[in-house]
Amino acid sequence: MIGGFSAIAKRELKCYFSTPLAYVILFVFLVFASFLSFKGQFFEIRQADLRIFFDYLPILFIFLVPAIGMRLWAEERKTGTIELLFSLPVTVRGAVLGKFAAAWLFIGLALVFTFPLIVTVNYLGDPDNYVIAAGYAGAFLLAGCYLAVSIFASSLTRNQVIGFIVSVLLCSIFAFADYPSILNVLSTFLPLRAVEIVQNMSFIEHFESMRRGVIEFSDLAYDFILIAGWLAATTVVLDGRREA
C-alpha cells in the first residue's frame, strides 16, 4: 500500500465525525438537496425519476465539496501539523490519496443520506432503479472531480477561506464549461476545435450520460484521469513544500 494511505484515511474519516463542521455540512446539504428538488417542481412534473435532483446536484456540489475540501491541507499548513505529518513515515502521495479517499467517502455518505428521495419515487411510481443507481454512481464520480480540484486549491494556501473561494471558482469553471454563453466568449478568440475541447472538459457534460443511465468509457476515463491529474498536481505542490 502507498505509504500511510490507510492510516491517513482512517484518521481523516474519524476527524470528520469529531467536528461539528461535518454535521453542519451534511445537514445543510441534505436540506438544500431536497429543497431544491421540490422547488424544481419534482412533484409537479410527476415523473418517477431523480432527474431534477441530479440537475441541481452539480450546482450544490460547487459549494458543498469545496467546504469539505478547503480544510484538508490549508488547516495542516496553518496549524503547522504538515511538518509533523511529513516527519512520520508517510509519503506525500499516500497522504494526498488518504485525505482524498476520506473526504470522498464522506461525500458518498452525504449522497447515501438522500435515500428518502429514492423511497419517495419508488412509493409514487415505478422508477427505473438502474438509472437511479447509475445517476448516483455518476454523482459520486462528479463529487470526486470537484474534490480533487478542491484539494489542489487547499494545498496552495494556508487560509481556508481563500482555499474555499479558489476551489469554488475552479469548480464553477469546470462545471459550466459547456454553457453556451461561456463557449460563445471563448469562440471569439479560440478555434472551434479548442472550444470543443473546453466543452469536453465540463463536469456536467460527463455527468449527463450517467444521469440518463448510460455508462460510457469516455466518461469514466474523464473522471478518473481528471481526479488523478489534480491529485498529481497537489502532490507536486506538497512535494515542493516538503523539500522546502
Partner: protein, 638 residues
Amino acid sequence: MRDSFKRFLAISFVLIIAVCAITIADTVGRTLRADLTHEKLYTLSEGTKDIIRAVNQPVTLKLYYARTAALKGPEFLRKYNNYYLYVRDLLREYERLSGGLIRLDVIDPRPDTDEEMDAVRYGLQRYAIGEESFFFGLAVVTEFGQERALPFLTPNRQELIEYEVSSAIYSSTTRTKKRVGILSGPDILGVQMSDYLRKMLEMQGKVPPEPWRLANQLRSLYEIVAIPKDAETIEGIDILLVIHPKALPDPEKTFFAIDQYVMNGGKLIAFVDPYCVVDTVNSIDRSSDMNRLLAVWGCEMKSNAFAADRRYALTIEKKQGESGEVFLPLMGIGPEGMNTEDIITAKAREVRFLFAGGLKVAPPQGVKAETLIATSEKGNYLELNPTDFGMGQIPDGEVFLKRFIEGSEPIVLACKLTGRFASAFPEGLKFKENKGNTKNSSEEIRKGLTEAREETTVIVFSDVDMVNDFVAFQESLFGLYPSADNISILMNAIENLTGSRALMNARSKGKFSRPFTVLDAIEKEAEEKTARQVAAVEGEIARYEVELNKMQGSVTEENAVVLQREVLSKKRELEGNLLAAKRQLRDLNREKRLKIESIVMKLKLINMTVAPSIILFLAGLIYISRFRKRRRFRRMAS
C-alpha cells in the same frame, strides 16, 4: 523562485497530460458503453440493426447542427446542445455497425456558405438567431441520388429519433416500395402541389384540399395508390386502408370489391366511426361503418353510440387560460388498454380516440379474433344524441359526464381478425348496367369467391379522427408533432401485415415517461367518487340558472309592480341556492385537490426532515457520549 517555477511547470505538465488523455479517451472510447436503462433507450434496436445490415450501397448521414449559432443563442439552446451530442452518438452507432457503408458527416452550416445552401436544399428548417441561422436536421443521401430529410430534430421527439433515422435509411435504400391502397370518404390524400401554386389558387378563392399528415408519412415510406370510391375490383396493392367509407356512389358495389379483395387474400385495415368530427363529406351524418362486411367476418360496430371511459378520458381546455374539463369522448388509452402480446400495440404508450365506436367481436368458426385496444372494465356506451350536436357544435364535457354510467366490461376499440373469411356476398352482387340511358339498364349478377383463398388479416379501428391531424398531432413551437402513438400503431399494423418487420422493431422503442401512478390513481379515484355529486350539483346550478332567467323574462312593464316583491324574494332565494350549489361544487373540487396536496406535503416533510434529523440525532449522541467521557475522565483525574 526557481523551485516555484519548476512546480508551476510540473503542474502545467500534469494538467496538459490530463487534458490530452481525456480528449483521446473521448475519441477512442465513445463506443464502449453500457446502457442500464430498462428499455435500452440508448441502444440501437434489433430492427435498426437489421436495416443497417440490409444496406447495400454507400449512404451518407449529413447531420446539420449550427453549433456556432447555438453558442451565440439564448440559454435554452443548451438542451439542443445536449440533444445534438446524443443524436451524434446515436448516428455514430449506425456508422460503426454498417461496416463502412454508412458514413456520418457532421456539418456546422455558417451563413452564406455552400453548407447552408445545401441544408436549405435538403429542406431542413432554418430559424434566425440574430445574424446566424439555426439548423438542426439530418439529410440521408444515397449513392444513387436518393435523399430523405428530417427537417428539424427536437428533444421532445427523442424516443422517435431512432425510428425516424432508420425509416429514412430504409426508405432511401429500399428500391421496391410496398403499395398501399387507400379508399376513403374524405379526401385524405389531398392535392399535392408547390406552396407557390397553392397560394396562387388560394388567392383566386380556390382552396385545394391539403393532404392529411398521415398521407405524407405514408408517402415517404410506401407507394400510395388511390382506390376510387366506385372501384369494381381492387388489386395490385400489398395492403388496403379503408378510411371512413361513406359518400360512396354505390356502397354495395364498393363493398363487393373490398370483399373480393379480401377473399383473394388481400390484407385490410379499416377505420370506421360512429361520429367523425373531421368529416367534411357530410356535416349532419358523420358516421360510417362497414358492418355489411365486418358482421360476417366477426366484428360489428355499434351504431349511434360512442365508447367512453372515465379512466382514460382526457381533459381539454374550454377557453384559453381557463382550467380544463374532463371530456369523455376524447380518450387517451394507456398501456393497460393495449394488447401487450401483439407487436402492433405492445409498446404503445397512449393511443387517442375521439368519439370512438365500440366493436362487438364475435368471430365465426375458423376466424381468430384478437383485441388490440379496449377501454377498462368501467367503460360504457353513450348515446349519440343529435340534439347535443345542434349546428354542428360539439357540446361541453359536462353534458356527457352527467349522462355517463360506468359499465362492467371493456369496450373493444380495435381488433385484429385472422383466418379464411367467408364472403359477405355469397350470392354475388346484382349489378345494374346502364346502356346509354336508364330505360335500357339491365341487371346482371356478378359472382365472386364465397370463401377466402387463403388466410388473411383484417384490422378494424372504430375511430377515424384518431388518424387525422386534429387528434394524432399537436402544435409545438417547431410545428406539429405526434400527440400520441396513433400514427405509430398504424405504421406498425401496415408493416406487420406487409412484412417489413425490421422497421417495426425499430419503431417499438421504449419511452421515457414513468408517471407518479399513485397520485394519478388517487386523482382518478377521487374524480370517480365525486363525479355523481359533481354532476348532480352542476345539474342543480343549471336548473337554478334557467329558473332565474325565466323569472326575469316574465317580468313585464304591466306586472312589474305586482310581481316585484314576489319576484325579488324568489330571485334572492334562487341566487342564494345558486351560490350554495356553486360553493358545494368548489368544495368537492377542493376535496380532490386537498387529498393530493396532503400526500405531497407529507412526502415533502418526510424528505426534508428525515435525513437531517438522523444527522442531528447522531451528532447529539456523539456529543453526549463525549461529554460523558470527558466528565468521567475529569472525575478520575480529580
